[in-house]
Amino acid sequence: MNFDYTDDQKALKDEARRFLSAVSPLSVVRTALENPDAGYDRALWQRIGEQGWCGAAIPEEYGGIGMGHVELCALAEELGRAVAPVPFASTVYLFAEALLLGGSDAQKSELLPQVAMGALIGTLAVSEGPGVLVPDRVATRFAGGRLTGTKLPVTDGMAADRAVVLASSDEGPGLYLVDLTGAGVERRLVSTIDPTRGAAEIVFRDAPAEPLVGGLGLLAQVQDRAAVLLAFEQLGGADRCLEMARDYALERYAFGRPIGSYQAIKHKLADVFVRNEVARANAYYGAWALSTGAPELPLAAAAARVAGSGAYLLASRENIQTHGGIGFTWEADCHFFYRRARHLGLILGAPRDWKRRVADRLELKLALETAA
């Protein structure tokens, strides 16, 4: 039992933090926010690509570094902390993971090396509009090697070169690989509450598509793995919100005292700390399950996602509250985190979806325990 990063992993994480504080200060997020058409920061994405981070968990045979998923979690935590406006999650946690698990050798050999060097942006396109995603009811259809339907919203849908798309077919629902730069694909930018992470509507009309292996089981696996990785982004963001709030509470005076000397503020920040610790504990357990392929992963991932989504939303909200009026302005940085908290909490399905999964998986766990 070692419920912490190893020394090597800590060194990687420290290095990542130094690197990101140099190349991705919050002014980079502000620039992205004020240029919503860009969808992400190209220069930053290039720098991150040069670090080899996109290939951190991609095996060496496909051009990656093959470090493992705990290392990727450490990077995710730092990227979340920086609110980095890059298509890292879409490309690495969703697209690359889907290919690794469900791609043919040819698909992996062609695309994963490009992902690993930061030369290819990918995404996962599942949602078809308002409401919870019910995977076996999607309207998008795959038949005869072609895919037709509309996906909305797709994070990084404008920036991505390739997408893994959820569609139904005569063989049942599953995931399909589509070249977004090819024929039969039309896309447009859609405005979202976190413009630093661009989103698109993508319309497929007989777009050439290749099936991945695994059907809805593959989708669930990809979602579970991404849930853990995103939980680390959420954790990084939530920790930074708490630090910002603490720093401001020390500096701001009211009634002749620092506001941090009032229990109203102390207890608020202590509550945030507790939720962040809950998120951290569940995220670490998820990282262990992810990196070891443990059967606990589905439950651990869902718990990590529920805890992470809740913690980040609370921390980002109470950071604004602690800052008072100034925290509610465009000029302050607090809203970057509030927007990103909501973005991360929705892109893989809203908390109500994941809470349901927690309950379903608990039932399964109990049934297995009873049987044994």
Binding site: S127, A199, F328, A350
Partner: protein, 408 residues
Amino acid sequence: MNFDDTPEEAAYRATVRAWIAANAPDLSRLSPEERRNWHPAHKEVARQWQATKADAGYACLSWPKEQGGAGGSAIEEAIFNQEENRAGLQFTYFMTGLHMLLPALMEHNKDAASLARVPPAVRGEEIWCQLFSEPASGSDSAGVRCAAVKDGDEWVINGQKVWNSGAQIADYGMLVARTDPDVPKHKGLTVFWLDMKTPGVEVRPIRMMSGDNELNEVFLTDVRIPDSQRVGELGGGWKVIISTLMNERAALGSGTGLNWRDVMKLAGQVASWDGTALEDPAFREWLADLYVDAEAIRLLSFRTLTSLSKGAAPGPEGSAGKLLWSNLAQTLTDKALDVLDHAGLMDDPDEALLGGAFQHRFLWAPGLRLGGGTDEIMKNIIAERVLGLPGDVRVDKTVPFREIPNGR
């Protein structure tokens, strides 16, 4: 205890409901964007509606006729407001002036120049803003640094105000300034009213995190105003501030904005695992909790009204309503976005359900917990003024203002 209308009240309600139906502006001809607060088209509709009400004797119903009101009762005014809200006519442009500032002006100033400002405000022709908060005086509302120095029969004002809602469109403002920094903080404050076009007044919009520009900074540089525009006693500003803030909380506590009806409408249109989100048992359970709080806010405003109708001033219990309402607004938007799932991110008024109202509200909601008294101040008021618990140990109350620690 009786929540039913008396026969007279019911008759009055029927009359005003019919009148509103016959005279209400048609907001549906505005685009979703124009329908948002502070949009010029929205403001113009509000102004016309206020004038229509004034002509028919429905504006400031409970005020005396000589002040532009209708000489009605507080109950009649409440019934009219309820019917107005029911018809979806919630306009905030005149609230600061009519609910907070002008009652204080009328109470303290009897001169013709001051009272002449009242009738145009009642008709919506003149808008008022509040110039109280400052960068170092938010929750600490007696920490005002903006200085007013007497020069003959005039006051010369220098300082900076902030979070001034509507100052960009306001014709008049009510301002609090420090007239004596050598006495304890609450004793050295004085309130004034001024024309926002007075030389030396500069309004700069603040862009809020939602991207809207409702709030402003107001810079005052050698602004000269006559002593006749002083509101209340010299050094008596704190009393004036408290009465306007109580009015504000009572008004905010009555709960405007998106409500359970809107989230039900949304949930009814959004697919869920089985049927719509509205049919989801977990949603229904949440909805019940939401309704109980929302209904309490509405009913608590009746209680405020009951005490008003007995001639009492709005009390500290208004703080409970304000606290409930601002937190409810946050809960409501969170749930709506959850129900929309991935599409909860989409905020374009032309493509999001209900014109993107919930996404817009999501970016507004944090401000509701800050403006008009933060959550923390509301809780202190409840604990200290309602429950009678002792206040914090204060280091700033008895020393001269200029000696209070400020961290710099």
